[in-house]
């Protein structure tokens, strides 16, 4: 039996691409090495009665156009917005985050009346940048080094978009893209705690510190979720992040697509320079007119494609693609809700993200550890308790806590992580929480500790990089993953990339999968119902 398309990896991007192709009438199969579907967007019962979103943990970036095209709400996806958030300070206080604008302003004013009022202009500036970037997410990047009509037209479109802006706005934008979030925040705010809170989105998932130039852009990447509503609004997927990939799978099956789990791909079959199918672990072969890889670019080409089939220059560039992981994760089953004495009774802060890093300097020092090849001794964590909003994920009265940790390097002092390293890393995180939550350790029923090593072994993210490649300018837009191959095509005909190694990069966004499908459908001239990015009005 032959398929029109075989997709390697049942992560969200592989499934999105598969859905679009299936809806266009192609016969598709998605092949997943794990026994479960979802890649890094999964809900797994790793402790009896508890559902863990054990990789990705929030839903914010997923493109609403894709949700609509693929009818994900119909197939069961519900997103619940955060209701609060807090940064705990070392002096026993906290900065709370509220959805209500006035409550939030007065909270900021506890730290700085000036910052409270500066926040509006800051949000306005960020929104301006988002409005420029957002339409680019759902477009194939042009190749600025060719004179192909399509590339020239796309460059001209970009030029017009820039041309619509005033000179000062363009300059602001260029500065913003190239500067560090720390410098950017210094221009707006004076309170270290407020700056620490706002810097969070600029470092999550990256191998940059808040003082690294280019980190301000990363903030944008995380804020593009809901541009015309709340800037940077984040939410939980009900039932855990697996709800997203479950809905995608249901949508795919309804269009006649297949998903096969439990067997990974050993090799992409290439004949006469064209991809013609897959050989699975154990030798079984699947014939397909084209192959899409949802694996990162390094894993795809360095492990599953015959090197002889690739131009040496391409392979060299793939080898140099930067995928240094920077984060780890603790997934914790709790016997009871943790108690944070700093918070007033009845406060909504636990229904959102919790941070224990109250200055940009502490974040940057945590990054210095990463650069030196060790995990942060005073780590930054983005921690939440989804069960505060979504009780389906734990038995009654008990809670699931997700702790996203930075920084954790791909290697410790140049060698592989050991189990002892991993446990010490986990202990550091739990100790940090316990400083703010007495009795916390006694409530821990189970903790899954994940370092870049575990992330690579289970999900296949090279070096544990959650974005399938770092988000610095040398690896964005037409540079992602490799200059000249930023349009989802690869040097091997009929082999395509559809994962986050491709534009526009990582996060549970779905855009790379959708854009790859768009390119394939353009290539095959198949009729398609694919929504363009919603216009920014």
């Amino acid at each position: 039996m032959s398929y029109d398309a075989a997709i390697i990896g049942a992560g969200h991007n592989g499934l999105v691409a598969a859905c679009y192709l299936a809806r266009a009438g192609l016969k598709v199969v998605v092949v997943e090495k794990n026994d479960w579907i979802g890649g890094a967007a999964v809900s797994r019962e790793l402790h009896p009665g508890f559902t863990y979103s054990n990789c990705s943990y929030v839903c914010s970036l997923f493109r609403p156009e894709i949700m609509r095209d693929l009818e994900l709400p119909k197939y069961g996806l519900q997103v619940l917005p955060y209701e609060g958030g807090a940064v705990f300070t070392r002096d026993g206080g906290y900065l709370a985050i509220f959805r209500d604008h006035d409550a939030n302003r007065r909270e900021f004013a506890r730290y700085s009346p000036r910052d409270a009022e500066a926040y509006d202009r800051y949000s306005r500036d960020i929104m301006r940048h988002c409005r420029f970037i957002r339409p680019l997410l759902m477009r194939t990047p042009p190749d600025p080094a060719t004179f192909r009509p399509r590339d020239l037209a796309e460059l001209a479109w970009l030029g017009r978009k820039v041309g619509e802006m005033s000179e000062s706005q363009i300059c602001d934008m260029i500065r913003f893209w190239t500067m560090s979030i720390s410098d950017f925040l210094d221009e707006h705010f004076e309170s270290p705690v407020i700056k620490a809170y706002l810097a969070v989105s600029a470092i999550i998932g990256t191998a940059l510190g808040p003082m690294s130039p280019g980190s301000a852009y990363v903030l944008l990447h995380h804020y593009m979720g809901d541009v015309d509503g709340n800037v940077g609004a984040w939410g939980f997927a009900r039932g855990g992040m697996g709800a997203i990939t479950q809905a995608l799978t249901a949508s795919l099956r309804a269009s006649g697509g297949e998903v096969r789990t439990g067997k990974g791909v050993e090799q992409v079959l290439v004949r006469n320079g064209r991809a013609v199918g897959l050989r699975l672990d154990g030798g079984e072969e699947i014939a397909a007119k084209r192959v899409l890889s949802n694996m990162d670019v390094k894993r795809t080409f360095l492990k599953h494609v015959d090197r002889d089939e690739l131009p040496p220059d391409f392979t060299r560039r793939v080898e140099r693609f930067k995928t240094r992981g920077s984060s780890g994760k603790l997934n914790i089953a709790l016997d009871a809700a943790p108690h944070f004495p700093a918070l007033p009774e009845g406060a909504p802060m636990l229904k959102g993200d919790l941070h224990f890093t109250d200055s940009v300097e502490r974040m940057e020092r945590a990054y210095d550890d990463w650069k030196a090849g060790r995990f942060s001794r005073d780590p930054f964590q983005d921690t939440m308790i989804p069960t505060m909003i979504d009780p389906t994920m734990a038995p009654p009265g008990k809670h699931f806590m997700s702790c996203f940790i930075q920084y954790a390097p791909p290697k410790i002092d140049g060698r592989d992580w050991t189990d002892a390293d991993r446990d010490a890393f986990g202990q550091t995180v739990i100790d940090q929480i316990a400083e703010y939550s007495p009795g916390f350790k006694d409530r821990v029923l189970h903790a899954e500790i994940r370092t870049p090593r575990e992330l690579e072994a289970e999900v296949g993210l090279t070096e544990g990089n959650i974005f399938q490649g770092e988000l610095t300018f040398d690896q964005l837009l037409f540079n992602r993953p490799v200059p000249g191959y930023a349009q989802y095509k690869t040097p091997i005909r009929d082999l395509w990339l559809c994962g986050s190694s491709a534009h526009p990069g990582g996060g549970v966004m779905g855009a790379p999968g959708r854009n790859a499908a768009a390119e394939i459908l353009r290539d095959t001239r198949a009729p398609t119902e694919m929504r363009e990015a919603y216009a920014v009005v």
Partner: protein, 518 residues
């Protein structure tokens, strides 16, 4: 009283270049300098009178060829003691690596052939990109707005130059444009010494570590400089750096510039929203229809002009100019020739054993702390002037990184910085501590106090991507003009930055001459 067409504030290299160019353009120019003698960061003799008499700058690498030729420096006593200076990447074990020729055209020392070849390829690529950027240096930064009076032809030429690199190289240029230098070096090279010295050079004088994105572009900017007619070369003037300043001063005077030293400008006179003159600290007033400030942009706008003459948003932009100096300057007088484990002292000596050493030294300064193991560039001027083994020697070093705003106070930090620096020196030149007769370490705050450079940054504002070209010092004033009619900026804080170059002053003068009617 003599009347002038223009007053130039600040007699450093940029001020002198600007004043001379204006004079050659037919203006009667008064040049006011606060110090006893002109020269700014290049002031100082051969250090014969001791360590404290040594100039801030100790090498030439950015001297603008227009300035060199246009000011006839060779006719005014300027010549080179050494051109195409080699660099020795010092090893604590004596296994030095010597980079000869401009930007390490050839390497001598123990090194694998793979690394030699890889460096040759990378060097060629970087120099090609740097070459493509060279024309920008002599240009008033373009404005982004349409119909803004840009030199479209000039810009088109530069753009075409980049495209002429060929498709693959153009792509590679776009990839490398904002990358961090460490990744590039680690991708291509394996030798720690080589990577260390290149990483050091890339971030020299900046407030970036080699792992900071955008650091490669700062390196390209360095490679776009030239000395003695050779791109990316280093040179040492005969008689010390002070001779550059002296030659420029003589040239300025010869061309007709009226030079007044010891004249500290207290404020710029603004009348009816026009700059009309300057008032000195002595109360003396000079008037001219054109006022050019080669003092840093922050100082010019906030202190000499004053916020009340400016708009609030503009004041914000001015205050947001980042000007963190990350380098300290060490001057040592030695009783005899030091021994850096056999290294040739007539080369530039660099102590930066690997990339991480540079990065780790930078880490500390982010928090206002002093690095335990600073990295540094050493020049021994006396070694170029034929001093013998038992003769006194002078050592000048740029030591990175030093905090611009030390957490524990300046005095404590300076002491710690000196101790840590001498510790590193001792490791590389055993016994050097016993030869020291006099030493002086200038922290960024000292440099600010002595030379008026905001934050102690040599460029009067960090040379970083978000403060380059049309964003330097910030967008509103990137074309050397200011919102106040008749007031112009000409310091290193303007495009293309500093480093004993004169380019910013020359560019500003060209702009003024093209914009101000005779």
């Amino acid at each position: 009283m003599q009347s002038f067409d223009a007053i130039v504030i600040g007699g450093g290299t940029n001020g002198m270049a600007c004043a001379t160019r204006l004079t050659k353009g037919g203006k009667r120019v008064l040049l006011l300098d606060a110090a006893d003698r002109p020269g700014g960061a290049a002031i100082g003799g051969d250090g014969a009178s001791g360590a404290s008499q040594m100039p801030l700058a100790h090498l030439l690498m950015m001297l603008d060829p227009r300035v060199h030729a246009g000011m006839d420096l060779d006719q005014h006593g300027f010549s080179y003691a050494a051109t195409d200076l080699a660099t020795t990447a010092l090893s604590a074990t004596g296994d030095h690596l010597v980079l000869e020729g401009p930007a390490g055209a050839s390497l001598s020392g123990s090194l694998s052939d793979t690394d030699r070849d890889a460096w040759a390829t990378l060097r060629k690529r970087l120099l090609t990109y740097a070459e493509a950027l060279v024309p920008f240096r002599a240009l008033t930064p373009p404005r982004i707005a349409r119909k803004a009076g840009n030199d479209m032809l000039g810009l088109a030429k530069i753009g075409l130059g980049l495209r002429r690199l060929g498709r693959d190289e153009f792509r590679e240029f776009l990839r490398l444009f904002l990358i961090n230098v460490a990744d590039v070096l680690e991708d291509d090279l394996t030798d720690e010494r080589l990577r260390g010295v290149l990483a050091f050079d890339a971030v020299l004088g900046s407030w970036l570590g080699p792992r900071s994105p955008n650091s490669l572009l700062v390196y390209l900017n360095r490679l776009a400089g030239e000395a003695a007619g050779t791109r990316a070369a280093l040179a040492l003037p005969k008689g010390g750096m002070g001779t550059v300043a002296d030659a420029m001063a003589r040239s300025a005077a010869a061309s007709g510039v009226t030079l007044q030293s010891g004249a500290r400008v207290e404020r710029i006179l603004i009348e009816d929203d026009r700059a009309t003159g300057v008032v000195l600290t002595t109360g003396e007033t000079y008037r001219a229809p054109t006022i050019v400030s080669a003092a840093g942009p922050k100082q010019t706008l906030l202190e000499l002009v004053g916020a009340r003459h400016l708009d609030t948003g503009f004041v914000r932009h001015t205050r947001n100019i980042r000007s963190r100096g990350g380098a300290a300057k060490l001057h040592i007088a030695l009783t005899a020739r030091p021994d850096f484990r056999g290294a040739d002292l007539a080369t530039r000596l660099v102590i930066a054993p690997d990339i991480n050493a540079v990065e780790t030294a930078f880490n500390a300064t982010k928090y206002g702390e002093v690095p335990e193991r600073p990295v540094m560039e050493i020049v021994i001027p006396t070694a170029h002037e034929g001093a013998g083994a038992d003769d006194p020697h002078l050592l000048s070093a740029i030591v990175q990184f030093a905090p611009h705003d030390p957490r524990d106070g300046l005095d404590k930090a300076r002491k710690q910085m000196l101790a840590n620096t001498l510790g590193v020196l001792e490791d590389h030149a055993p016994g050097i501590g016993g030869l020291i007769s006099e030493s002086e370490l200038l922290m960024p705050q000292d440099i600010e106090a002595r030379y008026g450079m905001a934050g102690g940054n040599w460029h009067h504002g960090e040379l970083s991507v978000e403060q380059m070209l049309f964003l330097r010092p910030f967008a509103d004033v990137a074309q050397y003009s200011t919102p106040i009619a008749g007031l112009w900026l000409a310091s290193a804080g303007s495009h293309p930055g500093g480093g004993i170059s004169g380019a910013a002053g020359w560019n500003a003068a060209e702009r003024i001459l093209s914009r101000v009617a005779a």
